[in-house]
Each structure stands twice: as C-alpha cells, then as structure tokens.
Subunit: 154 residues, 2 copies
Amino acid sequence: MNAGSEIVPFELLHLELVAQALNDTYLDIEKLESIGYSAGYRIVEKLAREGPKFKDELDLLKFICKDFWGAIFRKQIDNLRTNHQGVYVLQDNSFRFLNRVSGDRQYLEASPKFVSLTCGLVRGSLANLGVSAVVTAEITSLPACKFQVQVQRA
Amino acid sequence: MNAGSEIVPFELLHLELVAQALNDTYLDIEKLESIGYSAGYRIVEKLAREGPKFKDELDLLKFICKDFWGAIFRKQIDNLRTNHQGVYVLQDNSFRFLNRVSGDRQYLEASPKFVSLTCGLVRGSLANLGVSAVVTAEITSLPACKFQVQVQRA
C-alpha cells in the first residue's frame, strides 16, 4: 500500500480550518488571515536565516515567489508583475488550496475563505522582512489565483 | 539556499493553532480535538481507499500505527501495547509536535494543547473505520508521548 504518498497533511489541515470557517463557527476570514500571518512570520524566520540579503524590494518579492512559495506549496509562483510603484501581482496558475474546489457557485462564493490564510502567510512573511503591505487575492478561473501585494510606504 | 527542506508547513500551521489556543482566544482544547477529528476522518478515507481489509481490531490499530502515522508524521509509532480488552497504548518516542517544546514548567502545563489535535486525528480515523473510541494522551518525558485508545463497545 503506497497511497500514503498522496496524503498532504498540511492541505488537509488547511481544508479543515476552511470548513470550520464555512460553517461560521469560531473561525472567520479575519482569523484565518491572522493564523496565516503568524505562520508566515515564523516560516520566513527559518527560511531567510541563512538566506541572501535583498538588493531591493523586487528582489525580496522574488524570494517570496520562489523560496517561500516553494517551501510551503512545493512549487513556485508562475508569474510576477509589478507597476514599479509598490504594487505586485503574484499569479499561481494552479494554487494548491484551490485544486480540490469545484466551480460550483456555492464554492465560488465561499472562495475568499480558501485564500485568506494564504494572504496572511504572504503578509506575515513580508512583515518579518521589514515590508508592510496589504495583501488581497482574486480568483479568476479555478484553480488559478492572483495575490496582489500593495506595499505601504511609511 | 536550501534551508527550505527543513520547513514543514504542517507542523508550523499546527503550532500556530496551538499558539492561538494558548492565548485563550477562539481556540481551545475541544476545538483542536474537533479539527483533528475531521481531518483524521478525511485522511483515513484517502489512505484506506485501496488499503487492506482488517482481520481484527488489533490489525486495524497496527494500520493506524504504521500507515496512518507514517502519512502524517513520516514515522511510525514506536510501540503498541494492548490488554486485549479494547485498550491500546500507542507510544511515540519522538512525537513531532513536541519536538520543539521545551521542558519548562510553563510548557508542560500547556502540553495538553500540543496533543489534543492528534487525539482527534486518531479518534476520527478510527471512527471512519467503524471503531468508536475515547483517545487520550499522556506526556511522560519530552518529546515522548503515549496515546491511549479505549474502544467503546456498542
């Protein structure tokens, strides 16, 4: 029996948290975001410990797209765009947390709950690296997802 | 930079849930157990889909110790004992969720929060396999942990 190789406890635990939020029990979008924020903050602490210094903000965002995304989702962000004025759009064409979500209207309406923890992950990682940002997500066509990072200047 | 190989998102997400419970915000031991129960129920659904039929209860518990534990924690339970009357003790000598917990008194007092989600994982997996049980945990010396399964006869 080797079915075990398919099991990804991280995804299932995340799915369970989303399910709790869908049921409107004790978890909501803000709490999911907050859990993600703290987890992202810690993950980057470990990842960047022996990592490179960043030469600029774009360089730092590339680190998020490659190393940070890779450590969590075992893949990289597929496309990174920026307006060079503090807005970055990170596109994942096959976002793992959306892979099991069907396109039913019911799910699409609930989709913010599937991405808010990850918005928090990104915001927390950036915060730990000294960048304050607002992070939002847009689901265009499943399972693709765009995360928009808007850097807050002091 | 290859520090990424050390990052285990599942552990970090779990740690974050425990941290929320330690802060007595919206999570408590019962909710952690309940999250674990649902996740365990789903995990076993995938694991046992093409798995073996169990010849008896002990055989089923061995599956939990090997395949189930392996899929989640990438190791097996180190020791399984039973009184052959429905009580099983599963000992993990190096339980992953306790690996980062220090032996400070403060943490030992909080230790039930580090194991309750896993009690739920075991209870949920057993429930999906048709066995109703009470699952408790005892931490003797860090990072070892004993999980006791008491089968509830109908």
